[in-house]
Amino acid sequence: MSELIDAEVAGRVLSAALANGGDFAEVFAERSAGMTMAIDESRVEAVQAGASAGAGVRVISGATTYFSHVDGLDPADIERAAGEAAAALRAERAEPRSLSAIRTTPLPVEVAPAEVAAERKAELLRELDERARAAGPEIAQFTASYAEVRREVSVANSEGLFSGDDRTRVRIGAQAVARRDGTVETGAETLGAHRGFELFDDDPGSIAADASRKALTLLDAGPAPAGSMPVVVGGGFGGVLFHEMTGHGLEADHIQKGASVYVGKLGEQVAQPLLTAYDDGRLPGEWGSDAIDDEGVPTQKTRVIEDGRLIAFLYDGVTARREGAAPTGNGRRESFRHLPVPRMTNTYIAPGDAEPETMIAEVKRGFYAVSFAGGQVDPATGDFVFGVSEGYLIEGGKVTRPCRGATLIGNCLEALAAIDAVGNDFEIKTGVCGKAGQRVPVGTGQGHVRIQAMTVGGTEV
């Protein structure tokens, strides 16, 4: 693997960073290159190529982090950034340890997207467009996007760590708009992975067909119910529910600031014994996977909930050091322009033993949330909200009709404790998670999950 900065330059940068003291210094260098394009109105457009390179230097002294970053990988510029980061410190020079390179194995990529002709990517979008429109004349609009990015990173720190990673991700997204008389509905689907163009060997057009199917289904939708009722959440992207309502609250920065409802809950029963959950940054090919985190710590599989008991939080280097915990490989950042913070990788509820059909059959009147448009949580209060993109009414144990405009709303601790069945199906989907102004790729997964009672916010009072 190519190194973006050599050991000698990294050593000089770290020395410069500690020139006015500090407990820890780090240089993170990155080179990324990508391409995006879209199809809209059956026309390939917004074709865009981007490249950027740069480095971020941070010095930690006590509870304070000093950070500076620079565009470009010129050693002189990076040393200058180190000087800037150190400028506000007033202590005795500290010495970094000598670097010892750690060999890491990046996740495998069979077909580098950059080696694939751009015209082939445009063809892929045209294929999606055809598949979506083949679903019927009521598909009034269709857009799809293609994105590829290769991110090479190198990280070195004053404790002697020197490591790197080479990450390639590809993703396509499809959005269909269906129209009948005055009714307009949308459906969306995505496919992405930490892999190369080989991801698209296996029927990528199915996401376009799925997006169209969702939009068409909603044309027949009635208003969503309003009020408290049992909710069955679908597998795959349904996992965004767990990501939001539990995952964020387990990130150690929220815990240490007292801004999480899971403070003081370690070792306690927070869910029924049928629930076990993980954060796993090592899953081969998954969207949220990397070989190392953005501080050079190898990613790992962390069991966060075991048989309903909360057993682990997710740490970056700063939060781990603060309480003498072992880092969990969750120190992630959007780019060299950002400081790492504790972030999820691929977070999921492990499969249970319930049959999804039975989980629905046991509900007299309730709501079936198959997929979400997204969600949001305030980790401090635990209040969350999710927009349902595909939802149905359950009546007498049967899925009866689609509903539009539903929102699920609740509180993390209550909703987590109210999960009374976990399905034996399982799938992980791709998401882009925002926190502290930074967006990183994450995987969310689960099988079907049933929550005994949750507020559905619709218009049918």
Partner: protein
């Protein structure tokens, strides 16, 4: 910078582009985060990059990068041309022609095209050393803590600023540059209640730190958090709803997205085919103003060099116009309203609102509550990015706020949703407050509180 942009345009033309445009930007930013009386992080950074748009006939492509050497710019220009070759032809594609009057060079006396003087940069920004900025952020935190004994702490108090210079050159003869600055401060305060913690956001923004009052920011965050202590769920019903300016701004930003001609032309706006129709109650007037001196999105020209201006959107109930850039204007047989925007050199221009401004009314906040009489005040919404269907305008979003009983604020409410659709909501706006403020969530918006006559509230 302008020389760099010129060089990029020449390189793109040499690479086979029939027309080209280069947008070069340099940005220096600082950020201080404090927590528990200590500085948590102090960041400083400079970014420099360029984005090149290349047209080959009716095809367009884009490339951006940070390698600003002559070879780097030439390679980038070649990639932009290459991208254009991949794109399908679009009969409406093409760069804007220069405005008849030369562009205003940031207050330069030669050829001032803006009707009003736009002072976009606070010259004192550089005088604020990091230590002083840290003091400001710490003052925000201590103001929050001092407001009420039930404030248990703050999640974070933050100060951030940015000073940006932009240069734009096109092969059709557009040349312009300007500088601007902006800063903001915010706090997320934590209040300790009987049954858990509550959070409250306080914020303010300006061109430079002197415009921020740390005491006001801190107090707002604390008061919002404390007000939520003991919150319960409302009964599900349909009732009058007052949106405070922060919430109203989030909805106005969404409406602004629906008023872009790109959304309309592509059939993804609830406002499509409603030009000249009644879309709002007459009390609500909305305009876009790319020259408002206090607006964060203000600039002498937009992201493709067309002069910024003021555009009336909704007046006397009627939808007057959509927002256009050059592409949508060509396609819609209209004129650009100077609303091409980009979020930096890494993004290509697209139509979006600049500063959206709701004309203030005459009612005080207390009078608005009195008018609502029996309803709900909304002080926060969540899940806007997932809870709103941008095509139909139908929404259902998470909310928190207070009961309005007999025209007065009563107990706090949380964990409920409000649902309606954007056009119905605009028509149902019954009164507009006088309490306008700038809100930077999801766009740059200045709006007062709005009283919506009827909305579905779903709780228990």
């Amino acid at each position: 910078m302008i020389a760099l942009a010129r060089q990029a345009v020449e390189a793109a033309t040499a690479a086979g582009a029939s027309d080209a445009e280069a947008y070069a930007a340099e940005d220096s930013g600082r950020e201080v985060r404090v927590h528990g009386g200590e500085v948590e992080s102090l960041s400083a950074a400079t970014q420099r990059g360029i984005g090149i748009r290349a047209w080959i006939g009716k095809r367009v492509g884009y490339a951006y990068g940070t390698d600003l050497s002559a070879a780097g710019v030439a390679a980038l220009a070649a990639r932009a041309a290459e991208a254009a070759r991949i794109a399908d032809e679009d009969e409406f594609a093409g760069p804007p022609f220069p405005a008849e009057v030369p562009l205003d060079l940031n207050g330069d006396t030669s050829g001032n095209t803006s009707e009003r003087e736009v002072a976009l940069r606070d010259p004192t920004l550089g005088e604020w050393a990091p230590d002083r900025l840290a003091e400001l952020a710490l003052a925000i935190e201590s103001a929050a803590l001092a407001t009420d004994s039930r404030i248990a702490g703050v999640e974070q108090a933050v100060y951030a600023d940015s000073a940006e210079s932009v240069a734009l050159v096109s092969s059709l003869g557009i040349e312009g540059e300007y500088s601007s600055s902006s800063c903001y401060g915010y706090v997320q305060a934590l209040a300790e209640g009987e049954d858990g913690r509550e959070t409250g956001l306080g914020f303010d923004l300006g061109r430079g730190p002197a415009a921020l009052d740390p005491a006001t920011i801190g107090r707002e965050g604390a008061e919002r958090a404390v007000a939520m202590i003991g919150a319960g769920k409302p009964k599900s019903r349909t009732c009058p709803v007052v949106l405070d300016p922060t919430v109203a701004a989030s909805f106005i930003a969404l409406i602004g997205r629906g008023l872009t001609a790109s959304a309309v032309q592509r059939g993804r706006s609830p406002f499509a085919e409603r030009l000249g129709e009644e879309v709002a109650n007459p009390v609500l007037a909305l305009h876009d103003d790319g020259l408002d001196p206090d607006g964060f999105a203000s600039a002498p020209f937009d992201a493709e060099g067309v002069p910024r201006r003021r555009t009336a959107l909704i007046e006397a109930s009627v939808l007057r116009t959509y927002l256009h850039d050059t592409y949508t204007a060509n396609r819609g047989d209209a004129a650009s309203t100077g609303n091409a925007s980009r979020s930096g050199y890494r993004s290509q221009p697209a139509v979006s609102a600049s500063n959206l401004i709701v004309a203030p009314g005459e009612l005080s906040f207390a009078e608005l509550l009195g008018d609502a009489n029996d309803g709900v005040l909304i002080t926060d919404v969540a899940g806007l990015h997932s809870g709103v269907n941008p095509v139909s305008g139908v929404f259902s979003v998470g909310a928190s706020g207070r009961v309005i009983r007999d025209g007065e604020l009563a107990e706090p409410l949380r964990e409920f949703t409000i649902a309606s659709d954007l056009v119905s909501m605009l028509r149902a706006v019954r009164a507009v407050g006088a309490d306008s403020r700038w809100v930077p969530f999801g766009g740059s918006v200045r709006t007062p509180s709005l009283l919506v006559g009827e909305m579905t509230v779903a709780g228990s």
